[in-house]
C-alpha cells in the first residue's frame, strides 16, 4: 500500500549567525536584517518523508505558514522532491504563538485531508519549543510520536517507529493516521536535484503572482494564476477566508502567551583574573585553585 504524507516546514531566522546589525540599540530584533534558512529539523523531516515515499510509494506534500518570503522555502522543498507545496498565509495569522500556530496549521491540514502521516521537525531553531507538532496532533485528535529517529516498518495501517528518549530509545507501533516529529539524526537531507531546480525555479505562490500583477498593469492575477496552474508551477495559498476558522483564535489575539519584556543581553567584561597562557601561568593557576580549596 502507498501512503500520503504531509510535512510541516518552517522558514526560520538563522539564529546561529546573528550579526550586530540585527540587534537594534533598544535590544529588539530587526527581523528584516535576519538571514532566513530552512529549519534544519524540518528539512530532515522532509527527507524522512521522501525516503518513506521511495520505500512504500505514495505522495509527499509540504505545508508552511509564513509570509510571502516563505515561498522560497516551498521552492526548496520542490527542489528536494516534494510533490506539492502549500503556503498558508494571512496577516491575521501574524504574531502567533505555538497554540495559535497549531490551530491554523490544524485547520489547513483538515482541508488537505486525507493523509496518513504528518511529519514535522522536532523543533524550530528560533524558539526551540518543540510544541507545534504535539499541539497540532492534539487539535486533529491524532496520536503522536515525537523524537523519531527512524521508521522501521509500515504494514497496512500500522507503522513502527524508533524514537529517542532521555536514556535510550523506544520502539513504538502506531495506527495511522498519526503525526511524527523528527530529530536531526534521523536522516541526511538530499541535495537539490538540478532537474527539479530547473523545473520549479519559476514556481510561484499566489502572493507572488499578486505582487507581479501589482507591479505590471498589463498582468492580471487571475490570468497569471491560470497560466501557472496549467504549467504546473502554481503554489496554492490558503488564507483565512479559505479555512474554516475562528479568527479570534489566530495570530496575536489567539496567542495566550505574550512577550511582556525583552532585555538585550549585555555581554560585559566582568572582573576576572587574567592568567598568561604560559607554563608559569598554569603553575600560578594551580596555586590559586589550591588556595580556593578546589585542588589539593
Amino acid at each position: 500500500m502507498s501512503y500520503h504524507s504531509i510535512v510541516m516546514v518552517k522558514q526560520v531566522p538563522d539564529t546561529a549567525n546573528i550579526s550586530g546589525q540585527v540587534m537594534k540599540p533598544d535590544g529588539t530584533v530587526n527581523r528584516s536584517k535576519l538571514p532566513t534558512i530552512f529549519n534544519p529539523e524540518d528539512k530532515v523531516a522532509l527527507e524522512l518523508a521522501l525516503q518513506f515515499r521511495d520505500r512504500f510509494g505514495g505522495t509527499v506534500r509540504v505545508l508552511t505558514m509564513g509570509p510571502l518570503k516563505a515561498s522560497d522555502l516551498l521552492r526548496d522543498c520542490l527542489y528536494m522532491g516534494a510533490d506539492e507545496a502549500i503556503l498558508v498565509s494571512d496577516r491575521k495569522f501574524a504574531g502567533a504563538d505555538t497554540l495559535a500556530t497549531s490551530y491554523v496549521l490544524s485547520e489547513a491540514l483538515r482541508k488537505l485531508a486525507p493523509y496518513d502521516i504528518i511529519f514535522a521537525g522536532r523543533q524550530a531553531i528560533d524558539g526551540d519549543t518543540a510544541q507545534v507538532g504535539p499541539q497540532t496532533a492534539e487539535k486533529l485528535g491524532l496520536p503522536q510520536i515525537t523524537y523519531a529517529e527512524a521508521i522501521i516498518e509500515a504494514r497496512g495501517r500500522q507503522i513502527t517507529v524508533k524514537r529517542k528518549v532521555d536514556q535510550g530509545f523506544e520502539v513504538l507501533e502506531g495506527t495511522l493516521p498519526l503525526l511524527i516529529t523528527v530529530i536531526k539524526d534521523a536522516a541526511t537531507p538530499r541535495p537539490f536535484r538540478a532537474k527539479r531546480v530547473m523545473a520549479y525555479k519559476n514556481a510561484h505562490t499566489l502572493l507572488e503572482l499578486e505582487k507581479m500583477a501589482e507591479a505590471n498593469s498589463l498582468l492580471y492575477v487571475d490570468q497569471l494564476k491560470d497560466e501557472y496552474v496549467s504549467k504546473g508551477l502554481f503554489i496554492p495559498t490558503l488564507t483565512a477566508d479559505d479555512l474554516d476558522i475562528d479568527v479570534e483564535r489566530c495570530g496575536l489575539s489567539g496567542s495566550p502567551t505574550k512577550v511582556h519584556k525583552i532585555e538585550s543581553v549585555i555581554l560585559g567584561g566582568g572582573a576576572h583574573e587574567t592568567i598568561p597562557a604560559t607554563k608559569d601561568g598554569m603553575y600560578a593557576l594551580i596555586d590559586r585553585l589550591m588556595e580556593d580549596h578546589i585542588f589539593g
Binding site: L99, Q135, L172, E173, T257, L267, M290
Partner: protein, 339 residues
C-alpha cells in the same frame, strides 16, 4: 478569578518507577510560587504502584497528590497520560502547571496545553510571580516565565495574562532541589483511570533504557568544550584533562550539534544546568544559553583564543590562548604540583 485557592501543580515524571530529579526541583520551586500566591502546591503522578513515590512529594511540600495508578499506566505513553492530565486540568483549573523539560515533559505539556488552550512557555530559566500592567490593564499575580530567546541575544519575559492556566517547562538542574526538614502532612487522592481503546493507538513494543552513566549535576569539577575545540579529535583532550584532575566532561550545544559530544552531556538552557566547584570552559564563546547553565559555578576558568569572547565576562580566571596548547600545559602543571 474565583475565590478558590490558587493551585500550583507539578507533573511528577517517573521512569521504571523512579522519580525524575527535575520533578523534585520543580516541587521546590513550585512551593515558593505557591507561597507567593498564598495558594497550595499539588503533585500529579501517573504510573503503577506509585504509593511510595507519591508520599515522597510530601518532603518537597506537596500537600496533595493526584494519583492515577493502574497497571496500564506503568510506562509513559502520550495518549493516556495526556488524556488524564487534560481532564484534571479541565476539572480543577490550577493556576500554574509545571513540567520537566525532558522527553516526557516536552511530549506531554504541549498536548495538555493545546487541549486546555493554556499558555505554555518552554525551557524557562526563571519563574516569578508578579503583578503586571500589560496593554494598560492591570493583572495581579501573573507567572513571569523568563527565558533566553532568539539565539540567546535577548532575554524574554513571557506572560499569559488572559489564560486561566499558565504552563511552563523547565530543564533539569535549573531550579534547586530543596527538601523540607520535616515532610508535610499531605494526602493522596486517587484519580480513576478507565482504559480507552484510543489509548492504544500507539503501543510500546520495545524499550531500551540505560541507567545514565553521567551525572553532571553531581560532578565537583566539569571540563567543558565548545565549538572552538575545532574538531572531534581535539575535543578528546578534554577527557584527558578531566581524568587527571578528576572531573566530568561536558559540552555546549554547538559542540553537541557538531558531533563532538552527546546531548546528555550538554550544559545550558536546552541541556543541564550545573553548579560545580570548578568549571573549565574550553573553546566556549559563552552564549547566554550556555551561561544560563553554568554561571552559578563556584569558580570558572575560561580558555579561549578570542579575548573578546563573552565567556570572559563570567569567568574568574581567564586565559587567552589556543586551547590545544594551554590544556597540555595545564595538565603538566597539575601533575607537577599535585602528584
Amino acid at each position: 478569578m474565583s475565590d478558590k485557592q490558587q493551585e500550583v501543580w507539578v507533573f511528577i515524571e517517573q521512569r521504571e518507577g523512579k522519580p525524575a530529579d527535575v520533578s523534585f526541583e520543580l516541587l521546590s520551586k513550585g512551593r515558593k510560587l505557591a507561597e507567593s500566591l498564598s495558594g497550595t502546591l499539588k503533585a500529579v503522578l501517573i504510573g503503577h504502584d506509585m504509593q511510595e513515590l507519591a508520599a515522597e512529594t510530601f518532603r518537597y511540600g506537596a500537600t496533595e497528590v493526584l494519583l492515577a495508578d493502574h497497571p496500564e499506566l506503568k510506562h509513559y505513553n502520550t495518549l493516556p497520560y495526556s488524556r488524564i492530565l487534560s481532564g484534571l486540568v479541565d476539572q480543577h483549573q490550577p493556576r500554574i502547571v509545571l513540567f520537566g523539560g525532558s522527553f516526557i515533559g516536552r511530549d506531554l505539556a504541549p498536548r495538555v496545553a493545546s487541549h486546555t488552550r493554556s499558555g505554555l512557555t518552554a525551557d524557562c530559566t526563571d519563574l516569578q510571580i508578579s503583578d503586571v500592567t500589560y496593554l494598560r490593564k492591570d493583572y495581579s499575580q501573573l507567572l513571569l516565565q523568563i527565558r533566553p530567546a532568539f539565539g540567546g541575544n535577548i532575554i524574554a519575559t513571557i506572560i499569559c495574562p488572559d489564560s486561566p492556566v499558565q504552563m511552563a517547562t523547565v530543564r533539569e538542574g535549573v531550579m534547586e532541589k530543596a527538601p523540607l526538614a520535616q515532610p508535610v502532612e499531605g494526602r493522596i487522592i486517587q484519580v480513576p483511570y478507565s482504559p480507552d481503546e484510543v489509548d492504544h493507538l500507539v503501543r510500546i513494543i520495545d524499550r531500551h533504557h540505560e541507567e545514565s552513566k553521567v551525572n553532571l549535576k553531581a560532578a565537583p569539577i566539569i571540563v567543558s568544550g565548545g565549538y572552538g575545540m575545532g574538531n572531534f579529535q581535539n575535543f578528546q583532550i578534554l577527557y584527558e584533562l578531566a581524568r587527571v584532575i578528576g572531573g566530568e566532561v561536558a559540552g555546549t550545544r554547538a559542540a553537541v550539534d557538531a558531533g563532538f559530544i552527546d546531548h546528555p552531556r550538554q550544559v545550558g538552557q536546552t541541556g543541564v544546568t550545573v553548579r560545580p566547584k570548578l568549571y573549565i570552559a574550553c573553546g566556549i564563546s559563552g552564549a547566554i544559553q550556555h551561561r544560563a547553565g553554568m554561571s552559578d559555578s563556584n569558580k570558572i576558568i575560561a580558555i579561549n583564543d578570542d579575548p573578546d569572547a563573552p565567556i570572559f565576562g563570567v569567568c574568574h580566571y581567564g586565559i587567552v590562548g589556543d586551547v590545544m596548547q594551554v590544556i597540555p600545559m595545564l595538565i603538566d602543571a597539575y601533575k607537577h604540583k599535585l602528584k
